[in-house]
Symmetry: C2
Subunit: 319 residues, 2 copies
């Protein structure tokens, strides 16, 4: 019988779950509100279990479930808990793996979303066959999943890979974490919006953003404006890419990876971001590493990325 | 019979070799010129083999040799070669492990000196029992040996751990590598000398360095002056420690280690350097990591450090 994995991505707004086979075909999928009606974490697991059971009927073939992979903000691989997640409605320690044992008959594995993206890239994406690579996830914030010698870099407590909170400039932008100049204050959907505002203040020239509020502005609008040749938007991508490239050069010096993959919102802007990233990474890289490390967009199809990343954990962990 | 390892540290000036047992006792040791009389690499291996054979007679007990560990600048673990080492007299690719097979009857393993220091710390030093830690070696330059889940981080080509060439300030000091603002231009024996000169220029106040040339100045003189309360020297340590602390906070965000060890010349200045390092690392560290990661001086006795690090490779590799 065909073996499949259940992939579950717990987001602050929605949870996405799906059944995925070893080749990355999504046989069934569902999306439901993480928050609505789920006052306690037990309520949430009731909802999750109902939705996962509902998936079985959707698939057109017989299968056996190998396990469940869960990607979640602040998911701790070692403890199996989500700990103090700022973006989830339940506070303190959520004993995810313990709850999975109660609600599901198959084994489960948990990690944070950036790590799930890295394993997704390794099992289903552009990193197949690679043992050393980095996936940088660029969304509202910036995360990184780092694979070293074929294994996820977790560190002593599963919190390794906090690239978003390595510092560009200690007198720089205030970060939500309380520090100044963290990478994600520059390179993220929010970061590039801050850059647009900074450039509008600097140049005071007509731009696509003159009649938009900060709250309304999205990274997608900035990339559309750049494609139309808007100067502020073009320079915002240039600036963002230059900073990310410097940081990638730094990560290359630490890790000497085969490739660095960019995943998520900003990465979809294609050459607008990739070109300045590659130039700046190459410029700031030691001779030893020059022309060696590929910087690529994620090869995971965007529509199923979260499900595929979470499902991939199962093959990595239980196969 | 007692098993021992031969540890060989190939330096630009001298080679140090010794016989070391599993507990870290150095049963015999020798030091000879790397350069003198060794015009070709074959000449060098003749000299090395004579010196290693000479060690056997020195030891007071019977033993069998488990293997030879070699630490060398630009030593590549994967290829077994030293590649384009700036500080060694032989150019191009030196096939170290191949030559070892010709000259010695036991297996040999090669890596760079910072990696050897990290394995030394794990087998004989303060990292016994640790699976995730970083050793920062501070000498003429700055190197790092990074252990992840019990294994040396080598990366795709054995060149991982180039922390000395991660950048503090892209408009900063010119580095020997051609880039600007590399960590080792600030934090190294040379780096702190540059800082002293910069501070003398900035303040123009009487200091211990008014009658010393740049060539004469050593890191040891700076730490002696600081202990006597010299303002320039004290601020030089403060400044150096602050920069190193920021970079350690960065490495903590990437790796989430249990501890960071400082090894080599500058680390011997004790609290002069450790205090500002710890303050600055703590200040620049994410909430998640605060008060968790120990920053410690290496626990390897300085006198035998290079031999112990190289010998430790043998137990890590062949045991």
């Amino acid at each position: 019988m065909k073996e499949v994995a259940i992939g579950v991505d717990i987001g602050g707004t929605n949870t996405i779950a799906g059944i995925v086979d070893r080749s990355g075909n999504i046989l069934a999928r569902v999306c439901f509100s993480t928050v609505k009606g789920n006052h306690s974490i037990e309520d949430y697991f009731e909802t999750l279990s109902k939705n996962v059971n509902g998936l079985y009927g959707q698939a057109n073939e017989e299968f056996s479930v190998k396990g469940m992979g869960i990607g979640a903000p602040d998911g701790n691989y070692y403890s199996g808990n989500i700990e103090n997640a700022a973006n989830l409605p339940w506070k303190g320690t959520i004993k995810v793996i313990e709850l999975c044992r109660k609600y599901f008959a198959f084994p489960a594995v948990l990690t944070n979303d950036a790590n799930a993206a890295a394993i997704g890239e390794m099992i289903y994406g552009g990193a197949i066959g690679m043992k050393d690579f980095i996936v940088i996830t660029i969304g509202t914030g910036l995360g990184s999943g780092i694979v070293v010698n074929g294994q996820l870099l977790l560190g002593s407590d599963s919190f390794a890979g906090e690239m978003g909170h390595t510092v560009i400039d200690e007198n720089g932008r205030l970060c939500g974490c309380g520090m100044h100049g963290c990478l994600e204050t520059y390179v993220s959907a929010t970061g590039i919006r801050r850059t647009v505002w900074e450039l509008m203040a600097k140049y005071n020239i007509p731009s696509a953003f003159d009649d938009i509020t900060f709250s309304e502005l999205s990274a997608k609008q900035i990339s559309e404006a750049a494609e139309r040749g808007d100067k502020i938007a073009l320079e915002a991508f240039e600036y963002t890419g230059r900073i990310l490239g410097r940081k990638i050069a730094e990560a290359i010096a630490y890790f000497s990876p085969q490739a660095v993959f960019l995943y998520g919102g900003l990465a979809l802007a294609g050459e607008l971001i990739l070109k300045p990233v590659r130039l700046s990474a190459e410029k700031n890289t030691l001779q030893n590493f020059k022309n060696k490390v590929k910087i690529l967009p994620s090869a995971i199809p965007e529509s199923g990325a979260a499900i595929l990343g979470a499902a991939a954990l199962v093959w990595k962990e239980f196969e």
